[in-house]
Point group: D2
C-alpha cells in the first residue's frame, strides 16, 4: 500500500466521518475497468433524464441543462480530454461529478429515481450488445478468409484424421468450410438482443417515482422493461449467456490454432505460414514458429475462465445486490479483448498461408496409410456382403498388406479372394482417392460437387455481411 | 489392475492379433456411461435402416428382420432383461451384437453407411432433447412451488438486502417471484431444438452410399441434415450450449439455497424448514440443519465443472474425431442427474416451509435499520431538492439517529430542519414500510398491486404447463 | 486492427524477409507482462555472464563490459528512465538490446550459451521466490491483526455455527485464532525454495559449451542445476505448486470475508466495520456496506482461475517448449497482485473493526437457541447413559422446550425426568455457556485457559517475524 | 423421485416428528461415496474407544465389547457380507448401527466425546494417506516402464520440438527420462504426511470430556492433535493440497499422452503401439487408434475439475461446518480413481510400444529441417563472433539453403563465407547430429554419456522402491 492519504469519498459522503482506507479503496474502485462503458453510461443517463422530464419528475429546464452537461462530457470523453479525479470511483460517479461541475446543482438531480444497481445493469447490457456486433463482424472476417482459401486451393485432397490417425481422403475445401461452419454457429450464438431493460429497478425494490419504464426501455432499444426489479439487479443471465457464447467461440478458434500448428509442422507439412505471421527463436536460427496459432489454443483458457467466474461469482448468494457481482465486468471485458485479439490473429495467419497440395497428396497415397480401406469394405457391402463381415475381411487384408509393406490395391488377387470370395479385380478401380471423395456426394459429404456448391453458398452469404468496425477512442 | 485376462474385442476384430489390455479396456469402455442412451440408439438405428431400405441400399427383407431385432432389443432393455457381455464396449456395439444374435447375419448389415461417429452424435442430441424436456418440467414444478408460497404468504413485508445490509422494504411475494423469474429465464435457455442431424456424416467425410439424409433427419425430428460432415463429427456446440444453460440454472438454484440457509438461520428467522426436510446432528440434539439448501450451493459447482470440461476437452484439437470427445457424455450425464436431484430437493423444501411474518416485520421496523432512509431522500427530492443533496442530508440524519439509537422518524423536528430546511413534520407520514412499498408501483416494482398482478400472471402461465415425467426403467 | 505498419523484429532478424503482422505482434508481445521481472532478468544475466567468463567462454574484458551495461540498465529500470522501443517484444530482448546500445558489440555476446527458454524459466523462479516472501510477510501482518483482536476481545462468548445454525458456545478468541491457524497453514505452503536452476538447459537439449551449471545455480541461490534440460524448459511444476498455494490462501481469505459479511449484518450484529473501511450507496443514505469483505469472496475466484489455467495450458502438449506456456506469467502475476490487494484489504478491515459482545451473548443465551443441548446429553453420558440414548432423550426435550418457548434449563424437573430418569436438578448448573466452554479444555478446545495460552504462543511466534516490504519502483 | 415412502432417520431421531423427504434424502445421503472409507472409519473408532477407556470415560467392559463389535463389522465389510440398511445415511452411521446390533447398548456409547465432524475429517486424512501410497507406487511403476524403454532404445537420436517445429537433435533416452523426471516431481508432491489429527475437535468447539488427544493422534499415526478445534472441522487444506498434487500429475500424464498421440501418428511415425493397447474403428478397417493416450489428455480435465471444486466449495463460507464441505469426498475419490486408471493405462501402453529409430533419424537428417543451425551459430561464437551476429548470419544461410533445397552443410564454401567471413570448411564437421548431442555434456544436457549416467541413477533409485498394491475388496 503506497500512499498514507485516505481516499476521498465519491457521492456517498454524508454518512461517513472518515475517508476510505487506501487498501479498501484499491479493491473497491472500478473506474479503470468500467470506464470503457462511458458511452453507454451517458446514453443511459440521457434517456433516463428525458424520461424524468416527460413524467414531470424533473422540470424541463433541469433536463435541458443536464442533457447539455452530458453532451459536454461525451465530447470530453470522446476526445480524450476527460480529467479523472481521485473521487471518481467508477464511471457513473465520474460522469455525474463532471456534469455537476459543468451545469451546477441541476447535475445533482441526475440520480433521481435510479440507483447505480439498475444503472450499471443497463450500461452493461448496452455495452455487450455493442461488443456482440464487433465480435460478430470479426467472425465474418475470419469466415471470409477461410472461404477465400477454400475457393483458391480447396480442391486439393488430403487425409482427414480421427485419433490423429489418417482416416479417409477429403477435400481441403471441405476442411476449411468445416471451420467456417463451426464459426458461423458461434456467430449466431453471439447475437445479443436487448430484451429486458433494468433501468427503473432502483436498488432492487423499484423506485418511488412515477417513472415510465416502457418509454425508457424503448428509447434505449430494449423490447420491454424487466418484470421484476429484484431479479433485475440480482442476476445477469444475459451476460453469462454471452460469456458462454464467447467461450465456445474461443474453443472453435483454438481448434483452428491446433490445426495450423500441425499443418505447419515439418512432419505434416501441409501448409506454411508466411514471414509476416511467423516468429523466430533467440537461439535457433532456422526456426519459424507459429506463435499466433499456439496462442489461439492458450488464450481460449482465459475466455473459459471468464465464463466460469461469471457462474461462480453469484453462487450461493441470496437475491439482492452484492459487490461480488461487480467483478463480472473485469472478466467479461478481458474475454472480449482476448477474443478480438484472437480473431485478428487468426485472420492475419490465414491471410499469409500457403498450402502444399503435393505433400497432402503424398499423405493420401502413402501405401502404408490404407486410407481406402473403408472403400474396400463398402465395395463388398455394395455387393451384398454384410458390412460387419466386410469390415472384418478388410481388416485381415490390412494386416496382410502391412506385413508385405504394400497398399491394399497392390495385393495379389488370390490374397483378396482368400480374404473374401466376393472380391475380384475390379476392386482396384474403386481404390483411388478420387473415387472415394466422389462417392461421398450425399448432403454434407466431401464430394467435389458438394464442396463447390458450398463455397458458392458461402460466398453469397458473406457478400451480404458488413465489415468489422473499431471501438471509439474512448475505450 | 485385477484380472489377468485380456478383454475381448467388440466389432473391430479383423485388424488385431491380440486382445485388449485390461487397463486400456478400462479407460476405453463407455458402456456404463452411454447405456442410458439405449432408447435413442435404437430409435436412430430404426430410422437409419428404414432409410437404407427406401434408398435401395439394403433389401426390404433385411430391413424387416433388423427392425424386428431392434424391437426385441428395445423390449429387453425396457424390461431390464438385456444381458451385457464383456465385448459390449459401448451401447452401439451392444445393440448391434444383440440384434445379430437375434436375427442372424442381417444384423451385420446394420452398420452399413454409418460410423459410430455420426451415430453417437445423433444419439446424444436426441438424448439431450429428452433431458431438456424433463429438466424443464421440473423447473415448472419449482416455479409452481414458489408461486404457491407467494400466493399464500406473499403480502408479508421484509427487508431486501444489498451487501447483506438491509436496504429497503419489499413484499415477500416480490422476492419469491424474483426467484421464479430467474428460473423461467433458465427454463427458456434449456430449450433444445433438434436442428442439424449428424447421421450420414460417417466417420467425418460423409458416406459412400446414396443415403437420403433429409429423410432420416426428419424421421428423427430434426429440421435438416448437418451441412458439413466433418464439422458434424468434430464438435458438439449444441451439447455445450445445453451444458451452459444447465450451469446457469445451477447458479440460480444455488441462490435459492443460499436464501434458504439465511432465512432459516436463527439470526434471520424468516422461515422454518419442516421436519421432513430438516436434518439433525450426530452430537447436538437441538440442530435442524438445512442440508438440502446447502447442497444446492455445493452441487452447482459440479454442473459448472461439467461445462468447463466440455469447453476444454476439444481445446486445441484439430477437426476430426478424437477419443477426448467421448468424455463429454460423462460430464453431461452427471450434470443432468445432479440438476434433477437439485430441482427435486428445492421443490421438496419449498413444500415444507413456513414463514414468520412477525420476524420479517421486526427486521423492517428495527429502528436501527433505517430501512426508510431512501424514502426520506426521495421525500426531499420530490420537493425539488436535488437528489444528491437530499442523499447527503439524510446521510447526516442517519448518523444523528444512530448516535441517539432511534429511528429516523423519531428525530425531533429541529434536527430534521437542521439537516435540511425543506424537511417538515409531514415527512413522518412517508416513513412507513407500507408507504415505501406502495410508492414502487411502476412496472416491476414491489407495490402490492404489482405483486398481486404478477402472481395472477404466473398462475395463468403455470396452468398451461404440464407435469414432470420420469425416465423409463432402462436408464 | 489499427495501424497498418508492420512491427519490427527483435533479435531474430536474419531469418525473415517481412516484418511481423500487427495482429500477430499483439498476441505475441509479452513485454507489458514480463517487464516486472526486469530485476531478476538482469540478475540472471549477470550470473550467466560471470560464469561464461570463469569458464573461459567469454574473454574477461567482454564480461566486464557486459556487466557494466547490465548495471546501467538496472539503474535506468530502477529509476524509471528505461525507454521502451517497438522491437522490445519481451523483457529479455529489451535488456539485451539496451546493453548492446550501451557497451557496443560485446552486448551481442550476452546470449551465448543460453536460450530465452532457460532464461525465462530461471527469471520466473527467482521472481516467484520474491513474490513468496512478500505474500508471506503480508499473511503475517494479517495474522498479527487477528491475534491483536483476540487479545483485546477474545474472551467474549458467541455461538459457533454448523450449517449456519447455532451449534455451541465458543470464545471469540477461538474463532479468530482458527482464522490465524488456517492462514499460517497457507503461509507455510507458500514457501518457495529455489531448488533446480534451469539456466544452462538452452532451448531444451542443453547447450554446446562447457558451462558450469553448478556455479551459476548457486550464484543465483538455487540448490542445484536441473537434472534434465528438456524437463526443465517443458514444465514449471514449482510455479503451478505456488499457484495452488495462492489459490488455497484465496479460499481462506474468502472465508474471513464471508465471516465479516455475516458478522456485520444487522441480523448477526456481532461486529461493525469502521467508517474508514465501509462504503455507501448511491441511493440509500443509511448503508454501510462491507465491500472489502465481499471482494475477498469474489476475487478468490480469480486466483482459482489462475491455477486452473496453469494446469490446463500444458495439458496434452508433448514435451518441449510451446508458446502456450508463456501465458503462465499473465495468470501468475495477476494472481499475485490480486492476493496482495486482498491481504491488504483484509488487514485494513480488521484494523477498524469493533465487536459487540452483548449481541454475541444474546445469541448465546437466546432461549430458543438450545445451544447447550450437547451439554445436557454429555451430562447424561457422564452418568453412564449411552451417548446415543442421551442424544435421543435430549432431542425429545428440545422439542418439548420449543413447544413451550423456553430454554432447556427452564423445563420443570418432571419433564426432565420423563425424558430420562437419570436427569436431576443439578443438570441446570451444567447448562451455562461458561460451564460449556470451560469443559472443552482438552488440546485445541475452546476453554478460556486454552485460548489464553494459544494467544501467548501466537504472540511469541509473531514477534519473531518481520514486516511486509514493497516491490521496487520498477515493477 | 421414485418411492413415496419417507426415508427413515439414522441416529438423530429424537428431534424430528417426520421422516425425511426422499428428495432430500437423495441429496443428503453419502453412503455410496463414503463407504470406501470403512476401514479407516473402523480404525478411527477403535483408537477413539481405546482412548475413552484409558481416560476412564468408558468402562473397560464397554470398551472391550465395542472393540469386539468393530472387529466383527470389519470382517463383514472385508468379506462383502455387510448388509446396508435404509437408515445407513453414511458409513459412520452404518458402522455404529451395526456395532449396536452386534454388542447391544454399549454400541450406543461409541459416539461419546466425538462428532461426525471430527470423525469424518480424521477418516478422510487416513484414507488419503492410503491413496497417496497407492498412487505413488503406480507412479513408480510408470517410471520403471520409462527407464526400461530408455535403457533399451534410448540411444536413438530424434529431434526435440519447440512450437512443434523441429529444434535440435536429442537422445530418445533424454526425452523418456524427462517424462520420468516430471513424474518423480509429482510423486514427491503426492506425499501425504499425517500431521494434525482432527479427532477430539467434536463438532468444532472441542469436546466436554477429558479426552487424551495426543494419545489418539499417535495411535492413528498422526504427529500431533490439531491445535484449534474450529479450524479443524472448518477446512481441509491437506485434502486440497493433495488434490493439487493429483491435478499436476494429471497434467504430466496428459503430456505423455500427447507425446504418444504424435509419435504414433503416421506423420511422425516414431513409435507404434502394439495390438494389445490399440483400438479399432467401427467403419475404417485399417485404423489403430491410441485411445488410451487420448484419454490421458481428456481425463486430466476431470482431475483438474476436482481440485477446482475443492477450492470453490468453501469459498465465502464462514468458519464452522457446512454440508457443502461434504461434497469434497465425491470430487477427491473420483480424482483418485481417474488417476489410477490413467496411470495403469499409461504403464500398459509403454509396455507394448516399439520405436522406429530409422524414422527418427530421417527426421533428424531431413535437409529441410536445419536442425543443426544452432551448431553453426555456436561454431561461429566459439571463434569469437558475438552470438547475436552469428545467429543473424546463420539465419541468412538458412534462407539461402531453403531456397536451394539443401542442407546447411551442403552449401558451397563461398556462400558460407559471404554470410560470415569467419566460416571455413571445417564447419561441416561440426554439423552432424552426433557432434551436436555430444557437445551438450554439461549437467542435464543430452550428451550420450549424460543420458547413460542418468539411466543408471534411475535404475538404482527404482530398485529401492516397492511394487504397487491394490485396494481391499471392500472399497
Amino acid at each position: 500500500m503506497s500512499g498514507g492519504a485516505r481516499a476521498r469519498r465519491g457521492l456517498v459522503g454524508g454518512r461517513f466521518a472518515a475517508e476510505l482506507d487506501p487498501a479498501i479503496d484499491r479493491v473497491n474502485r472500478s473506474f479503470e475497468t468500467d470506464r470503457r462503458m462511458w458511452e453507454e453510461d451517458i446514453r443511459g443517463s440521457e434517456a433516463h433524464v428525458r424520461m424524468l422530464g416527460r413524467a414531470g419528475i424533473l422540470p424541463a429546464a433541469a433536463v435541458r441543462r443536464i442533457l447539455r452537461g452530458l453532451a459536454a462530457v461525451r465530447r470530453e470523453m470522446g476526445e480524450g480530454r476527460f480529467e479523472v479525479r481521485p473521487e471518481d470511483e467508477d464511471v457513473h460517479v465520474a460522469v455525474e461529478r463532471r456534469v455537476t461541475e459543468l451545469v451546477g446543482p441541476d447535475g445533482k438531480r441526475l440520480h433521481t429515481a435510479r440507483s447505480r444497481n439498475d444503472q450499471v445493469a443497463t450500461d452493461l447490457l448496452l455495452h455487450l450488445a455493442r461488443a456482440s456486433e464487433r465480435l460478430r463482424a470479426r467472425v465474418v472476417g475470419l469466415e471470409r478468409a477461410l472461404v477465400r482459401l477454400a475457393a483458391r486451393d480447396g480442391q486439393a485432397i488430403l487425409p482427414f484424421y480421427t485419433h490423429l490417425q489418417r482416416a479417409q481422403p477429403v477435400l481441403l475445401g471441405h476442411v476449411l468450410l468445416a471451420h467456417a461452419e463451426l464459426l458461423e454457429d458461434d456467430r449466431q450464438a453471439l447475437l445479443f438482443p436487448l430484451d429486458r431493460c433494468p433501468l427503473g429497478s432502483g436498488a432492487g425494490a423499484g423506485v418511488g417515482y412515477p417513472v415510465d419504464r416502457r418509454w425508457v426501455a424503448r428509447a434505449l432499444g430494449f423490447r420491454r422493461p424487466s418484470p421484476n426489479s429484484l431479479a433485475s439487479v440480482s442476476a445477469r443471465p444475459e451476460a453469462t449467456r454471452f460469456a458462454a457464447a464467447m467461450a465456445h467461440l474461443a474453443t472453435t478458434l483454438s481448434r483452428l490454432g491446433g490445426e495450423l500448428v500441425l499443418w505447419t509442422s515439418r512432419e505434416f507439412g501441409f501448409a506454411r505460414l508466411g514471414d509476416s505471421v511467423s516468429t523466430g527463436s533467440s537461439i535457433m536460427p532456422q526456426k519459424r514458429n507459429p506463435d499466433g496459432a499456439e496462442l489461439l489454443r492458450a488464450r481460449a483458457i482465459r475466455v473459459h475462465g471468464a465464463l466460469l467466474a461469471l457462474l461462480e461469482l453469484p453462487r450461493g448468494l441470496p437475491l439482492g445486490y452484492f459487490k461480488d457481482l461487480q467483478e463480472d465486468k473485469v472478466h467479461l471485458f478481458r474475454a472480449i479483448d482476448d477474443l478480438e485479439a484472437m480473431l485478428d490473429a487468426a485472420t492475419a495467419m490465414l491471410g499469409d498461408l500457403t498450402f502444399d497440395p503435393a505433400r497432402m497428396r503424398e499423405a493420401v497415397d502413402d501405401p502404408a496409410g490404407h486410407l481406402l480401406a473403408t472403400e474396400a469394405a463398402d465395395w463388398l457391402a455394395r455387393r451384398g456382403v454384410p458390412f460387419r463381415e466386410a469390415h472384418e475381411a478388410v481388416g485381415r487384408l490390412v494386416r496382410e498388406a502391412e506385413s508385405r509393406g504394400i497398399a491394399l490395391r497392390d495385393l495379389p488377387l488370390d490374397v483378396l479372394e482368400a480374404a473374401h470370395p466376393a472380391f475380384d479385380a475390379t476392386l482396384r478401380r474403386a481404390l483411388t482417392a478420387e473415387a472415394a471423395v466422389r462417392a461421398r456426394r450425399a448432403v454434407g459429404g466431401t464430394a467435389p460437387a458438394n464442396v463447390a456448391r458450398e463455397i458458392r453458398r458461402w460466398q453469397r452469404r458473406l457478400r451480404r455481411e458488413g465489415r468489422p468496425q473499431t471501438w471509439g477512442d474512448g475505450r
